[in-house]
């Protein structure tokens, strides 16, 4: 190959180009992983993926907009392989934007062993996720339930007064996962 590089002595040599290209390869490999936190930040700003706040907010009193009524629906879903009963006490509730509401959920560990559960919330439509404010929620923490134990879990929330006017219904969905293995290890 000396012959090849000798043919263009005025050009940059191979190893210089290779070094740059290999650097790009590693940078792009890193970029793939950097997309993970970037995606979270991006979704946080845009509400792209329907994720809601993960720590409680402090209620800001900006008045109650009684001219609008929003229907908030609750859905629960068990991930594969978690033997719990988990459901909302009421399926839907009407709220005015800015009004604080409290609803409770019922959970029971129907199995014969202790399980740590984690409920993961998601709001649909995704755009509304940023306006659904949870003051207190059981989903902020893990729920360890002993075999056969049952529990009432609370959710305190309000819908932000700035909610876009075309949205009249929100669906809050909880998926319950068994995270015992992860907690244990």
């Amino acid at each position: 190959m000396d012959k090849g590089s000798a043919q263009n002595t005025d050009k940059p040599n191979n190893s210089k180009v290779i070094k740059k290209l290999v650097l790009v390869v590693f940078a792009m490999f890193g970029f793939g992983f950097a997309l993970v936190p970037l995606y979270d930040v991006f979704c946080d700003i845009t509400g792209l993926n329907g994720k809601t706040n993960e720590v409680g907010v402090i209620y800001k009193d900006e008045g109650i907009d009684t001219s609008r009524t929003i229907t908030v629906q609750f859905i629960t879903r068990m991930a594969k392989g978690i033997p719990w009963q988990f459901e909302p006490e009421i399926n839907e509730i009407s709220v005015h934007p800015g009004e604080v509401k409290f609803v409770s959920f019922y959970a029971k560990n129907k199995s014969k062993h202790d399980i740590v559960g984690q409920a993961v919330p998601s709001v649909s439509p995704g755009v509304a996720a940023g306006y659904f404010q949870k003051i207190e929620c059981f989903c902020f923490t893990q729920q360890p339930l002993k075999a056969g134990e049952e529990v009432e879990m609370g959710l305190q929330f309000y819908v932000d007064i700035d909610l876009p006017s075309e949205i009249t219904t929100l669906t809050l969905s909880y998926t319950l996962y068994d995270i015992s293995a992860k907690v244990g290890s």
């Binding site: 090849g4 263009n8 793939g32």
Partner: protein
Amino acid sequence: MATEIINESLDDAHTDDHHDYKMTGIKRWLYTTNHKDIGTLYLWFAFIMFLTGGALAMVIRAELFQPGLQIVEPDFFNQLTTVHGLIMVFGAIMPAFTGFANWMLPMMIGAPDMALPRMNNWSFWILPFAFAILLSSFFMESGAPNFGWTFYAPLSTTYSNGSTAFFVFAVHIMGISSIMGAINIVVTIMNLRAPGMTYMKMPLFVWTFFITAYLLIAVMPVLAGVVTMLLTDTYFGTSFFDAAGGGDPVMFQHIFWFFGHPEVYIMILPAFGIVSTTIPAFSRKKLFGYSSMVYATSSIALLSFVVWAHHMFTTGMPLFGELFFMYCTMLIAVPTGVKVFNWVATMWRGSLSFETPMLFSIAFVILFTIGGFSGLMLAMTPVDFQYHDTYFVVAHFHYVLVTGSLFSIYAGAYYWLPKWTGHMYNDSLSKWHFWCSLISVNLLFFPMHFLGLAGMPRRIPDYALQFADFNKWVSIGGFAFGLSQLIFLAVVIKCIKGGKKAPAKPWDGAEGLEWTVASPAPYHTFSTPPKID
């Protein structure tokens, strides 16, 4: 471009050089660092993989010949569609183009070989291992990957049949091979051009491979990253795509398609390069709008990075996102249209002749444009909600990949076979190959448009009764197309074994340095660079 023919006699002068020593038997191929040998290896490997992936497709079409489950179980059907896709993308189309790059790039730019010949050997020889790993999973208890070639999480993590690790390592090796091949192409083109060959004097073929290589270097590492995340999610308890641990399965689709969309241009830009070589040759005119072709190729490559989410319109994006990705996607039609018009303008008032490479090139222009138009339909968010995950999508990407990429590969293969083998191919047999392929491929893929519009979902082994007639036609087209490809195998073998002796330049309209060397091309060409005016 005007070229000076100075090298043929010089080549002979160098035969005493120790480089000309050829090992015999298998060692020649295992240890080779010669770009022509490695190009040949790539092309044969791609063809074997093409027949393998094709055989899987035959089983798919046999199952879909009539409604109900006849031949295979649904789970095995999923394995067939998954591995068919992976093999055709990573095993057939991409290595075939790398084979073209290896054979032709050094000869087109007047270089003695690729810039990094040892790495070249390495990048080919790890490929068979990748596909051995992937295909071996068919013979294991858990079976081959069954989550679709797009391997969406959680199908490939939580619900995987246990083949994820094999899949991931196979993809890692394919990725490393592609990246090494791409680095080699970039270094070769940057450093080994003959004196006087400026960037804007390079044949368009060289330009398209140059740009494709950059795309590969940019996105193959992202693919490596996303499969690594799958691996750790499945086996090491991370939660990149697992909502239980704070991850998000939709993020998988974003990262995958950030790789995936540039990937589809990796599979079509070299095709543009090939037909931009063959169409001028058989029109006996210069390529119309050379520089606009270069800029169009570059802009397609750049735009490919900002359109990925058009694969994900139904995942519930905000309206702004859907509009952004819709308009960006439609924007790609502009440079692509420039290319199509340039090819047509090249043929306009040319002295056309219809040798087999030209037939495949013209079929490419027409049928690729059909695939492009169905792509535009899919780009429109509101209608995509109807077309998403139906046979319309299957029809679209097979039009661009089979009648697009594959037909261009055939055009290129027929065009350069005389240079590679030193013999002319059997003309009538090659015409049989073309016409059988052309008719059967349309019978195979055109009705899929209507099936998709009528609502037949993809990746399902069974279908509703009203789709039965069309599926029967599609399957017949599929079998006919599969058989037609064996004609090509016959043509190639006959051409290697003998045939009419090919002159150095068998096509009177052909241009480029590769036609200044003898046919078959000597083992070493351009040991002394030619001069370009």
